[in-house]
Structure formats: structure tokens, C-alpha cells
């Protein structure tokens, strides 16, 4: 029986294992040094905040693995020997494979800041990071202030976490406005305001210079390029992540930033595949980045590689881009492509609507020549994934999207609806006279 070995028990590796089991009878082994069982990395924050216990972040009960004949090995892979098709673990034991899937994920970026190795300086990615945070910042007596470096999705999550324990947070963001490399300025501005509402000391356009140690080798303060020294007990480094592939350096597997793969997720070595955060496409697919460190893409790559391994060779063919996040109390969803001013293409035009008092806004991107709808960012209003996916496939124009916007609303029942206002605002800005149509179940369930 063919033995499939997967390194990494995150969403990519586990999805691959599940789909291989669904489609075949192969022997499956998952090796991980992080935890005994798969858990949802995106949910670690809720454990620290007391919304859930760690066990709640595990999507499958512990009997699941045995029942589905997925063997779990706790261990750290030191070497991959592709000539003998063997893995060597750090305890010197060996695991033989017929096919190998590398799904080792990421590690937090550290850009060589002085003091980045001190006690009390940490990222937020692994379960061990959560345990460290519980030690470093259990309450506001042990941690009188925390400084977070890096204004992205993990940074704002870490800030939210610390605030729930009444720990004062200073948030250093390199950009002039929060996440404005990704978000258009109206949205970025709204999130700036929301961060301040939560009493987080947001410092835009500010870089970390140095982390200063106390006499015990613990972080006690940071200095910034604005000349400020900020006393703190914890420094959170959340300036993005990069593939966790150092252990493959001399393996003969081609590496770039991550493990280089083709569209079939194959590496340069036969029978070795890479998926998830650690995989790097030779050429970016569409507007995507070559390395996609996103939950959803990890899951999609897992599905894809499972089909290939089960004899139904399939390209990694992600559909329309989508993503989601939550900024403190504000939910964010995106479908298609809406670029920030910094990365916008010449033909891209934006329509932005923001509620006068509530923290709600949307931005739609469209081509100003053809009027083709390109994508939507939505904050505080939930939208139907399937509807936007279909409109993008059908290459609808912005006019059509506005007219049928009510079909896409996914907010809970009885919520205030804003389509009329959004369309009215679009009409007055663009001089059109679109009348939004009533929501239609018939259209929602249409098949393409």
C-alpha cells in the first residue's frame, strides 16, 4: 500500500489527508511537532480572550484520526532524503514515504531588529506563541504595556487580545494609515478610527529601531524612529510571516522564499509536493502572490493535491479571490480584487460608501472603461460568497451589481439594510439612475 507522508498538521496538510482518505485506501501519516491534533490557527486568539478553550479550536474529535486511519506522529523533521525516500526526525527515528507532502506553514518575520531575541519578544503564529503570551502577558500587573510592531491582520488581532485583559497596547505601524498597502484609504481610515475607539495607542508611520533589555535579558522598552522610548514588558512582532522551510536547505528541493512548486503543486523532486503557506508558485496565478499565506488557499491546495495523489491529476486552479478578517468589532469580507491606491491599476476605479455614524462601509472596484465589476470590500455588512463569485464569473458590470445588490446581502434577519442608500449614493456620484431590485430567491439559486 502506498504510504503518503504529510509534514505539518495545519489546514493544508489535514485537508490533503482527509481528501486522500475520501478518495483512496492509501496509508496516511501526518507528522507535526506543534500539537498532537489539528487545531484552527485562526482561533488561537479566542483562547487567550477566554471565548474558547484550546480543545474547542480542534475541528475533529480525537477518535476521528484513528477511525479514518490517519496516523499522527509527533516529531520534528530534520532532514528529507529524497534518494532513499526517507525522513529523519530530530529523535533520529526514520520514516519512509512513497509520496511526501510538505505543508509546514510559516514562521513570523523578524527583520534583524536589535533585541529581537530577548525574553518577552514574540510573534503570534504557533500554539507555543500562545503559551508564551500566557506567560509573558497573563494580566496587566505582569505586563504593564505591550508594544506591537507591524500593522497587519495578526497585529490587530494581538492588540484585540491584549486589550481584553486590560493591558495597554502601543501599536507601531510602518504605513501612514492602517494596512493601506491592501485597503483603499476610506476603509483604512475607518479602521484607524476604530482602533483608537478601543483605546489602543496607534502610532502610524512609525518604525521600531531597537528593543532594550533589562538586567535579566527581558525586553523592557522599545525605541522608535520618531525618537520615542516606550516602556513595555512584551513586544509582539507581527510584521508578516514567511515560509518555514529552513530545514529543507540542503535537501535538493528547490527553494525560493518557499518551496518552489508548479501548478500541480509538484516540487522539482518526483513524488514530493508542497502546499499551503510554505509553497511558492514559479509564477503568480493571476493577481495572486506566489506565496499565499491564507487559510483558504491552504485548504484549496490540500483538496487539489489530494486529487492528484489519488490519480486524478489536477492543477491548482483557485477561482475568484476571496478573503475575510475581523478588525476588533468590524467584520471584513472581500470578493474579487479591490486594490489600495498604492497598488491600483490604471483602469481601476472605486466607488466608496460609508455610513454616516455606524462603522460600516463598502468599496467596489470596476474598470472605468468597460464598467466591468472587479471586486468588493465590505466592512460590517455581510455578503453572499456565491453571488459575488457568480457575478465575477459572468463578468457583470457595476451597474448590474448595484441593481442586484440586495441578492447579495447576507446580514442576519431584521438587520437594517443599506442597499438603497448605497445605490442612491452611487447614482448621485455617477449621475446614473439605478433602481435596486427586490431580493429574489430565484436569482440567488440560479445555476450558471
Amino acid at each position: 500500500m502506498e504510504h503518503i507522508v504529510i509534514i505539518g498538521n495545519g489546514i493544508a496538510g489535514v485537508t490533503a489527508a482527509r481528501h486522500i482518505r475520501k478518495n483512496s485506501d492509501k496509508k496516511i501519516t501526518i507528522i507535526s511537532a506543534e500539537t498532537d491534533y489539528f487545531f484552527s490557527r485562526t482561533a488561537l486568539m479566542y483562547v487567550y480572550m477566554g471565548h474558547m478553550k484550546f480543545e474547542h479550536t480542534q475541528p475533529y474529535e480525537n477518535w476521528f484520526w484513528k477511525k479514518n486511519r490517519i496516523e499522527l506522529v509527533k516529531g520534528y523533521v530534520d532532514q528529507v532524503n529524497h534518494t532513499s525516500k526517507k525522513l529523519v526526525l530530530s529523535n533520529k527515528s526514520e520514516v519512509a514515504y512513497d509520496k511526501l507532502i510538505i505543508a509546514v506553514g510559516s514562521k513570523p518575520n523578524k527583520f534583524g531588529w536589535p533585541g529581537q531575541g530577548l525574553e518577552g519578544v514574540q510573534g503570534l503564529y504557533h500554539k507555543q506563541d500562545l503559551e508564551n503570551l500566557e506567560k509573558n502577558a497573563p494580566n496587566n500587573k505582569v505586563c504593564k504595556r505591550a508594544v506591537i510592531v507591524g500593522g497587519g491582520l495578526i497585529g490587530i488581532e494581538l492588540a484585540e487580545m491584549l486589550v481584553t485583559r486590560n493591558i495597554p497596547v502601543t501599536f507601531l505601524v510602518r504605513e501612514t494609515s492602517f494596512w493601506n498597502g491592501v485597503l483603499p484609504k476610506g476603509e483604512s481610515q475607518m479602521i484607524n478610527e476604530h482602533i483608537l475607539e478601543h483605546h489602543i495607542d496607534l502610532r502610524l508611520d512609525t518604525n521600531l529601531v531597537e528593543i532594550i533589555a533589562d538586567e535579566n535579558g527581558r525586553a523592557k522598552a522599545v525605541t522608535t524612529d520618531k525618537g520615542d522610548t516606550i516602556e513595555c514588558n512584551v513586544v509582539g512582532l507581527t510584521a508578516g510571516v514567511s515560509p518555514n522551510v529552513a530545514f529543507l536547505k540542503d535537501s535538493g528541493i528547490e527553494l525560493g522564499r518557499g518551496v518552489k512548486v508548479n501548478r500541480y503543486l509538484e516540487t522539482n523532486i518526483p513524488d514530493i509536493y508542497a502546499i499551503g503557506d510554505c509553497a511558492e508558485q514559479h509564477e503568480a496565478i493571476g493577481n495572486r502572490r506566489p506565496v499565499e499565506a491564507v487559510w483558504y488557499t491552504g485548504r484549496m491546495m490540500g483538496e487539489t493535491v489530494a486529487h492528484t495523489i489519488c490519480g486524478n491529476k489536477r492543477q491548482y486552479d483557485p477561482g475568484h479571490w476571496f478573503n475575510s478578517a475581523k478588525f476588533l468589532d468590524i467584520e471584513y469580507q472581500t470578493y474579487g480584487w479591490v486594490f489600495s491606491e498604492r497598488n491600483m491599476k490604471e483602469t481601476e476605479q472605486h466607488f466608496h460608501w460609508r455610513h454616516p455614524n455606524e462603522k460600516l462601509c463598502i468599496t467596489m472596484a470596476y474598470c472605468h472603461k468597460t464598467q466591468k465589476f472587479l471586486g468588493i470590500n465590505t466592512f460590517g455588512i455581510r455578503m453572499r460568497h456565491e453571488i459575488f463569485d457568480r457575478w465575477l464569473t459572468e463578468e457583470r458590470d457595476i451597474h448590474y451589481v448595484m441593481e442586484h445588490l440586495k441578492d447579495a446581502n447576507f446580514d442576519p434577519e431584521f438587520y437594517a439594510q443599506y442597499e438603497e442608500e448605497i445605490v442612491a449614493s452611487y447614482n448621485s456620484e455617477l449621475g446614473t439612475s439605478i433602481l435596486p431590485k427586490k431580493k429574489s430567491w430565484k436569482r440567488i439559486f440560479e445555476r450558471i
Partner: protein, 527 residues
């Protein structure tokens, strides 16, 4: 995992402490409860009307003030910070103390009301005497233990209902739903029956929203006689009771799912959603708990059906000239209805039921038919193989008192707030059966947006592993779902939506999650 939990304990004080406002509010509420307790020990107060008012007002104000202190200064949004760090909401010492106190209260209430001060044929004493003025004002009669219970129950739903609305003030669904349970409890369960008793002394106490089989006693001889003796109003109520089961509830459940009852109208649900909200995360989500749930709750349905059939049968006559409904026509009627339902499910819905549900249905159907058959071989006074009175008292003790009260509510802080609704309520099981097979209601999963975080499953009071469906892109169509809407509220990525839509597309098996464009032809060719 265990090392992590140890760390949590070792790092010292829980990060969640009460603020000053919450402490003061707790004090006020405790004074209210204290007055009741003093009365319990027969330390009688001279002006009971005044003291009762002070006591209930203090409890109410205490809870509302506590809520304001807890949520008032925070921005709108999900308020679950520290739920698993607080003793009360994570099965800590406080939770066990509250559980034991509540359980004790229910045991006294159901089985030893004399300790609450109930005196038959004389002046009440103790706590019950304290409630006499209010009861006399409403119905003209002195209070009973049930009046005391009903009043406290209503105060709890109102006060904690306000707390719940404060907590979910960003969520219109939750706010409107809570106003609804507060209204139905106050008007239908509390005030209207008392006033009806004042207007027409012959009418049995009837909470109109409480339908069979939740009120398993509705068709007992004394009640049916009471309805008939009370004239047109009584007959109308009796007919309404029958129509609720066979006409009103199927229509509403078809249109809205069983939530129209379980989380919008029902009193048990009302208490669970308001006073019990702090305990929703304690429900057991394991697959084995689900298996136990299905067997236990459906057994209760069989039990209540047999019991009611037996009770009605026992007082019907044999002579068609006296009354059209005789013992044998009644039994035949019950048998026919069950057979029709069974045949319909087996013919049209077989493929939707999982294997064990199918076996369960077959098993129970055979049992009922066999028992009805036994009738023809059993003598007068007996029905089936039991005495009807034995069935009735057993049901009333085991299900009506122990399950719904002592375990169902007393154990809120240990097993969660919907133990009764999930494992015991025959009404919920029947509505759930309809919801699963014949309803427009579903929880829609939003394409591929689930991140498997587990908030939905954790906060599902019915112990549904919501995430198991959501992460596969499947809609949630489960008989036990009461439609409280909290999974949708706590989802950080906007993945879940409760909605009533067309039957087609309600259950959506998905081969590949949305977002991954499969080569569909290749998939088809390889199948």
C-alpha cells in the same frame, strides 16, 4: 493541552474580575433574594405586599444594573471575553454552588412545597404567604407554590432578557426575539391565565402558548371536563389546543422552522435564552452526546404519546350513542395518524434520514402498533399492558418534574441551558422532526468563508457541531436547532445566516468548496 491549562492556573488571578458597578449591583440583587430567604425561614414581615415589591424590584434592578455595568461602557459587538475564565460560566466552584442551590429549590418546589409555606385549607406561611397579596390582586386566590415559581420565572426572563439585549445590542434578530419571549412569558404564561381564572373560575389554568406534548396533562379527564363545563370559551380553548398541534404548529414550522416556538415563544426556551445565556457554551458537542440525545428525546415522544393515548382512552366510553368518540375509534384514530406520518416519511423522505434514525422510526412504530394491538387482548381498566394511571404518574414524575425542572434548569451551570430542550422535550422533538423534513428554515453557510475557528460550535446551546457543516460549505439542517441565532452572531467571518428560503437548494452537498475551481469535466469523467 494539559500543560497549557496548568499555566493558566499558575499565572495567578483570573483576568476577569467584577468592576465596582457589578459588585454593587450584585449586592442589590442579593438583598432581594435575601428577603425571600428570610421569609423561607418563616421570619415573617408585617407588610408582605411592600416587602414583596421591594424584593422583586431589588432582584430586577440588581440584574439590570449588573448588565449595564458589564456592557454599557463597551462598544457594540460580541461580549464573550473571559467566559472560560469565570468560575460561574466555566463549571467552577460558583457554578456548582448555583447548580446545587437551583436543584435543591426545584426539589422543594415539586415535592415539598410545604417547606415554602404552602398550607392546604388555611393561611399560607413563609415565602408563599409573601406572594399572597400579588396573587389575590391578579386572580383573587391566595398564592400557591406555582404562583411563586411563575412570578420569579417571569422576573428572571424580564431582567435577564434586558441583560441579553444589552449584550447583543448590535444584533436586531436577538433583540426582537428576546422582546418576543419576554412578551409571551409575561402575557401568556403569567397574566392572562390568572385573569382568566378571575373571570371564569371553572376554566382550568391554561397557558395558551403551551401545547401538547409540552403540557402533557392538557387532555386529562379533569381538564377536558373543565373546558367542556366552562361553555363556549372552554370549548374554544380545547379546540385551540388540538388545532395548535395539528394545524398551527405544522404551518409555522414549515414557514419558519421550529424557532418560531423554541426561541421566540416557549417559556422553557425563554428562560434558557435569558437567564441561561451565560451557560450556553457548556453543552456537550461530542458525537456520542448527539447519539444519546436522539435516543432519549425520541423515547420521551413515544412515552408521552402512549401515556396520553392511555389517559384519554381510560375515560372514554364504549357506547357510540352517548358520544361519538369511543375507546376503539380513538385508538384507531391514533393508529391511523401515526401510520400516515410513518408512511409519508418512509416513502418521501427515506433518503434524507440517516440509518439509525430510520431504524429508530421503524422500531418505535412497531412498538406503538404492537401496543395498540395489545389493547384488543387486554381487559377493562387496562390499556395496552399497563394501567393508564401508572403511566401518567410515572411520566409526570420522571419527565414533567425530574427532567424538565430538576435536571433541565437546576443543572444549567453544569450541562448548559438547553439540557431539557435537547434531551427531554417531546415538543421540541416533534417540531424538530418537521423542521428536518418539511420546513423552509436552514442555516446557510456562506460559500468557502469558514475558518473552522469553532465559535459557532462552542456557543451552540443545543450541542450542534455547527463548524462540522460550515467548514465543508454545507448548510445546517438539523432537527435540534432552535434558531437562537447565536452561531451566526459569534461567527467572526460572517459565514452563517438563519433564513427561510425555497426547499430546493436547502440541503447543498458540495464536492469541492467554493473558491477552488475544479476541472468539472475531469471530475465527472473520473466518477
Amino acid at each position: 493541552m494539559s500543560t497549557y491549562d496548568n499555566n493558566m492556573a499558575l499565572t495567578g488571578e483570573p483576568p476577569k474580575a467584577l468592576n465596582t458597578g457589578q459588585k454593587l449591583a450584585t449586592l442589590v440583587g442579593m438583598i432581594g433574594l435575601g428577603i425571600l430567604t428570610l421569609n423561607l425561614f418563616n421570619l415573617e414581615f408585617p407588610n408582605s405586599g411592600l416587602w414583596l415589591t421591594i424584593s422583586l424590584a431589588a432582584i430586577f434592578v440588581g440584574v439590570v444594573w449588573f448588565s449595564k455595568a458589564a456592557y454599557g461602557h463597551k462598544s457594540k459587538g460580541i461580549k464573550n471575553d473571559g467566559v472560560w475564565f469565570k468560575s460561574m460560566s466555566s463549571r467552577g466552584v460558583l457554578a456548582w454552588m448555583a447548580g446545587i442551590a437551583l436543584t435543591g429549590f426545584y426539589i422543594v418546589l415539586y415535592f415539598y412545597p410545604q417547606y415554602l409555606g404552602l398550607v392546604k385549607d388555611g393561611e399560607n406561611t413563609g415565602v408563599i404567604a409573601l406572594f399572597d397579596p400579588l396573587s389575590k390582586m391578579l386572580s383573587g386566590n391566595p398564592a400557591s407554590q406555582w404562583f411563586v415559581y411563575g412570578t420569579l420565572y417571569t422576573v428572571a426572563i424580564l431582567a435577564f432578557g434586558i441583560k441579553f439585549m444589552w449584550k447583543y445590542r448590535h444584533n436586531s434578530y436577538e433583540k426582537i426575539r428576546t422582546v418576543s419571549v419576554m412578551f409571551f412569558q409575561t402575557a401568556f404564561a403569567f397574566i392572562i391565565p390568572e385573569i382568566m381564572a378571575r373571570l371564569n373560575g371553572d376554566l382550568p389554568y391554561y397557558d395558551l402558548k403551551n401545547m401538547w406534548p409540552l403540557n402533557y396533562y392538557n387532555f386529562e379527564r379533569y381538564r377536558v371536563n373543565g373546558f367542556i363545563d366552562a361553555g363556549d370559551v372552554g370549548m374554544a380553548m380545547l379546540l385551540f389546543g388540538i388545532a395548535s398541534i395539528f394545524i398551527i404548529s405544522p404551518i409555522l414550522t414549515y414557514k419558519f422552522g421550529k424557532r418560531w416556538y423554541c426561541s421566540w415563544v416557549c417559556g422553557c426556551g425563554g428562560l434558557a435564552e435569558t437567564a441561561g445565556d451565560a451557560f450556553r457554551q457548556l453543552s456537550d458537542k461530542s458525537k456520542s452526546a448527539w447519539q444519546i440525545e436522539r435516543w432519549v428525546v425520541h423515547s420521551v415522544v413515544v412515552f408521552v404519546t402512549l401515556m396520553t393515548t392511555a389517559v384519554v382512552y381510560s375515560y372514554l366510553g364504549n357506547d357510540t350513542s352517548k358520544y361519538w368518540l369511543t375507546k376503539s375509534t380513538f385508538l384507531l384514530g391514533v393508529g391511523t395518524i401515526l401510520t400516515l406520518v410513518f408512511a409519508w416519511v418512509m416513502i418521501y423522505k427515506r433518503q434524507e434520514l440517516q440509518k439509525d434514525a430510520k431504524y429508530g422510526a421503524i422500531g418505535y412504530f412497531v412498538v406503538i402498533i404492537t401496543l395498540i394491538g395489545l389493547h384488543f387482548f387486554s381487559g377493562e381498566g387496562n390499556i395496552f399492558i399497563f394501567k393508564s394511571e401508572t403511566l401518567r404518574t410515572t411520566y409526570s414524575f420522571l419527565i414533567g418534574s425530574i427532567f424538565s425542572g430538576v435536571i433541565g434548569t437546576g443543572f444549567y451551570p453544569i450541562f448548559g441551558n438547553r439540557v431539557w430542550c435537547r434531551f427531554g422535550c417531546p415538543m421540541a422533538a416533534i417540531l424538530g422532526f418537521q423542521q428536518r423534513l418539511f420546513s423552509k428554515f436552514r442555516i446557510t453557510t456562506n460559500g468557502g468563508q469558514c475558518i473552522s475557528c469553532g465559535n459557532c460550535s462552542t456557543y451552540c446551546e443545543m450541542g450542534i457541531d455547527v463548524r462540522a457543516y460550515a467548514q465543508k460549505g454545507e448548510n445546517i439542517v438539523r432537527s435540534s436547532c432552535v434558531g437562537c441565532g447565536i452561531c451566526s452572531a459569534v461567527c467572526p467571518r460572517g459565514v452563517l445566516k438563519l433564513e427561510n428560503g425555497p426547499l430546493e437548494g436547502r440541503i447543498n452537498p458540495t464536492e469541492v468548496l467554493l473558491g477552488n475551481d475544479p476541472d468539472l469535466m475531469a471530475l465527472v469523467n473520473n466518477k
